[in-house]
Symmetry: none
């Protein structure tokens, strides 16, 4: 969707939009029953919304393309997920709730093992424990090299994020991770001339890390890759004139929401916490992104029954949301994560839009096969936001 066009015709209105995102919502049939997770679950509240709203299936990127969480959510927020790239280091930082300054350069780091000659013998240092990772990160954290402050944050097991904070840092440098064993970590070099300083600092950081970690075999060296700054996207305020709030338990989704300008709510760790946060904040905002992670987790684990159960739990909680009577309610996912596939997949994602003006269809069940007959047909996920905005009467006529 052309955001320039939307920006031109967006207006404010008192109507509220709630976008409920069930991560990895779409599924595949269980080979035993021939029914998908959505078809298997008992979902009276979802079904009622399917009956009330206009339904369809959405492709986050394009048919056949399996989205990561970043592109999947950007598409839902109406951003071209191919053009709006998020560098790996920046996404990793976002994923652990680090707020990057515009000048900061972030990198993904691995603890690794090198032998006496400095040759990599294990790129993941035997997958050290997350506790060990925290301990080692503390040893590397807080260096200053040539006026650049370096923060080191643990992620999980052997993975960490390094953030370089200083003046005139450019992220266009090569990686030290050769992506294979049997050779030494690579020397980092500048891809463009004004990134020379950053390359030099990254090399010096790696050298110091080697000294510090020398006696900590198997984690006696580090590898750095995916150097990136925070991307600069136009905000949802600028494009849609919305005042958006994000409610998400997991840091990755809070971070993604922040990248498009959303305010991020404090919330708890459960589904109920999230819905209560929505109730508490309902008056102050006009757009709500409410993220439910556990559908995806169950799908990733290949646990069909658990995905069904999570869906039923969300269904049971739905009245907390519908009681607020949002003028526009969108329920969809950032991608499919079928339990039968055991990971993110390319299959289009169910989407329903409920509003007074949605022009409902004959669909009565909330499921992939039922939504095939929906009034939305098959759309791109980037088209959901313009539709939500239109239904909330937040888009004026295009042209006279």
């Amino acid at each position: 969707m052309n955001q320039e066009l939307i920006k031109e015709i967006a207006i404010t209105s008192p109507d509220k939009i709630v976008m409920l995102v069930l991560d990895g919502l779409g599924g595949l049939p269980d080979p035993k029953t021939g029914k998908t997770e959505l078809e298997t679950a008992r979902l009276p509240n979802f079904d009622a919304l399917a009956a009330k709203g206009i339904c369809g299936l959405a492709d986050p990127i394009a048919p056949g393309i399996t989205p990561g969480s970043g592109p999947g959510h950007l598409a839902l927020f109406g951003y071209d997920p191919v053009k709006c790239e998020i560098g790996r280091g920046a996404l990793e930082a976002v994923g652990i709730d680090i707020e990057l300054e515009p000048e900061d350069v972030a990198a993904r780091g691995n603890f690794c093992t090198v032998d006496g000659k400095g040759i990599i013998t294990d790129r993941r240092a035997g997958r050290i424990s997350s506790e060990k990772c925290v301990e080692l990160c503390k040893m590397l954290d807080g260096m200053t090299i040539d006026g650049v402050d370096i923060k080191v944050y643990p992620v999980r097991e052997h993975r960490f994020v390094a953030v370089f904070h200083g003046d005139k840092l450019e992220a266009e440098i090569t990686e030290s991770d050769p992506s294979r064993m049997g050779i030494a970590p690579l020397k980092i070099s500048a891809i463009k001339p004004d990134a020379k300083r950053m390359a030099d600092i990254a090399n010096r950081f790696a050298a110091k890390a080697k000294e510090i970690l020398a006696r900590h075999h198997p984690a006696n060296m580090i590898l750095l890759r995916g150097f990136a700054k925070k991307p600069h996207f136009p905000t949802m305020q600028e494009i849609y004139k919305l005042n958006p709030l994000a409610i998400a338990v997991y840091p990755m989704y809070r971070g993604l929401a922040r990248l498009v300008g959303m305010t991020v709510a404090r919330t708890g760790t459960t589904l109920e916490d999230e819905f209560k946060t929505l109730q508490g904040k309902y008056k102050k905002y006009d757009f709500f992104f409410l993220h439910v992670k556990w559908t995806d987790t169950a799908g990733e684990d290949g646990d069909f029954a658990r995905k069904v159960k999570v869906l039923e739990q969300v269904d049971a909680a739905l009245p907390m949301l519908t009681a607020l009577k949002p003028e526009v309610l969108v329920i969809t996912g950032d991608h499919s994560t079928p339990a039968a596939f055991g990971g993110h997949s390319w299959h289009p994602v169910p989407v329903v839009i409920c509003s007074q003006y949605c022009r409902t269809d004959s669909v009565k069940k909330f499921s992939e096969p039922a939504f095939l007959a929906g009034g939305l047909g098959r759309i791109a996920s980037t088209q959901i936001m313009p539709l939500a905005m239109a239904n909330a009467r937040k888009l004026t006529k295009f042209g006279a």
Copy 2:
């Protein structure tokens, strides 16, 4: 679909993809019965695949646009059929199995009739016989002008292909064919400066041809148009990391496959020959383009009954293919050729994708009306390859 994106995320996998292309597959209802060719034919094997797979309708170029064979196939192979142009001369050469060198310039030629003053009186020389064409081409074949070797190949009736082989030839020159009678053939001139030599050679070739043909009325002159080099497309190996094989009886389709880097199999002249070739070569490749021409020929001839019969013949042969159990089977066409229309048409083409992960729909019949309810909905033909790749687990996630 963005080929650059696909190239980034394509990986190899042991899964095999078979793309069975029934040329001109889509049809229109017979006015007497109200049923299309597909609805009229008895197709138990096609129907079984429709029931197993995910079905839909595909637009080769865009709604309303009738494709030629070139764009129709390029779209199926995942190439933007509007951007990936094949010059007329190059396509004509491809169509008669001529393998052009990268530097060669090919042109479409017509034998024509001129009067005593050199004015064109018949642009097609009274549509001389194909035998006469062979005879005349031999007379023009093998000239060398200024170091450029000129080969002349008969096509059919008054049509031939001229191939200019030499150094530093550029194809950007005007045509000698004025596309009307009553004037003399046009002088060919360069459109860009470095094509001057090619223009000069083409003019000298036409002049010599006039001398040689002087006593061969009505074919006493030639007209040249569509000067073009072989286009340079990224290959399917480069984009998809596939090892693709083409099986086609007719030279045009072998040539198109060669343009996108496919290996072309030797095969016989019948449907059975083609399926046997598939069986024989199945182990060595991971992508198979199997082209069936006769559906189109029957449609072009307006022969509804024959198109029905060809469909039933293909259905009967299908077990030879399905016995191989390809992980992904795609059945579609390069365009519609309804017998009731008597030619290529713009109507979207049925497509089915069968795989373990295809997310089947409720379609049980292989026909245009049944496929309207299919899970693929209405897609662009260029999206078929990404979907086939995804189903063969040959595409990794886009973005983290």
